[in-house]
Symmetry: C2
Subunit: 198 residues, 2 copies
């Protein structure tokens, strides 16, 4: 039996994924909320983690050390080709399994068994998106500026929080808009969010 | 047996919800993609529809006539208290069941049985959000302006598409920002989107 833990922030979807994985009879499945933090040292060892990509704890959190040090690379992330940012972060974070949310259920079960053996599982439908989203187009600074703007912060506040002048913030913003091929600030935020970069 | 159809746009989550509903043994469960459009006239009659609120076909689509005329009010919508816009649209659209995605699985099964009898099922955790989101704060025009802006359209394009002058668009925008208590345009879009109004 492969010991599998499902991580999802909505209890109903968590239970549904647990039922799906149990249906085959070869997996021993439990679940946890991402908010519960890294699992207890005393918890039973887990062979494979299954996590909804939208529940990764914000940008870069797939790399979150306390969690990663416990779960290692035996991680299957569920996402779609429309979210190259999440795909890329999961891949760069070392997740062995990437499964398309639009795939049939047996693909997820195959992915869990593959990752349990320490092998990589990558849905073909996600490969192109992963290659296209090869690199985050923005620098850390440009991303910070857009990320604060997306939370509704005005220019002056962004400048103050990043210890920059307003002119510099305006320059970062203009460069970011151009780089992602957006028509304006709102458009740039929309593009980054839908790709899963912020 | 209550004949239940799950509607979700991601196949994996659709299969997972089907497994969850089947686990109790009193429901006959099938599923469809929202993209598949309203069900065939020749399809077997359905007692209850279960639908993810995030998969409603955009603003107002819970009211979509071809679908509504087939599914009637025997509809259970899954959402969270953080999405008063979706809650409100589902409620106003006549959905009898509103289930919190953070509820335990047996709540959903109870909801399906309750709605199958033509009775209302409303998760307590959603009641407050439903009352708070009592009314959409914006007029149709103000919402159209913000909705186009959220897709990245510049002011001139919004004016052209709505057959308004730029000054009028600016006025609608300013009123909308004030009404939702936002700090600026990006903030107003963020507030409306996270509440599920656009």
């Amino acid at each position: 039996m492969v010991r599998t833990v499902v991580v999802h922030d909505e209890e109903l979807m968590r239970s549904a994924l647990v039922q799906l994985l149990r249906s085959e009879g070869t997996l021993e499945v439990s679940s946890m909320s991402p908010g519960a933090g890294p699992p207890d040292q005393d918890a039973l060892p887990t062979d494979v983690w299954v996590m909804d990509g939208d529940c990764l704890w914000g940008p870069g959190q797939a790399h979150d050390e306390p969690f990663r040090s416990r779960c290692g690379d035996r991680l299957v992330v569920l996402t779609t080709a429309k979210r190259p940012g999440i795909l890329r972060r999961a891949f760069d974070g070392g997740a062995l399994g990437l499964v398309d949310k639009n795939a049939p259920a047996h693909r997820l079960i195959t992915a869990v068994h593959t990752v349990a053996k320490g092998q990589r599982f990558l849905d073909q439908t996600l490969t192109v998106a992963l290659l296209e989203g090869a690199e985050m187009p923005l620098t850390t600074r440009e991303l910070s500026v857009l990320s604060l703007a997306s939370q509704g912060a005005p220019m002056a506040e962004i400048a103050a929080r990043l210890h920059l002048s307003r002119g510099t913030v305006r320059n970062y913003m203009a460069t970011a808009i151009r780089k992602v091929g957006a028509r304006n600030r709102v458009d740039a935020i929309r593009i980054l969010q839908s790709a899963g970069w912020t």
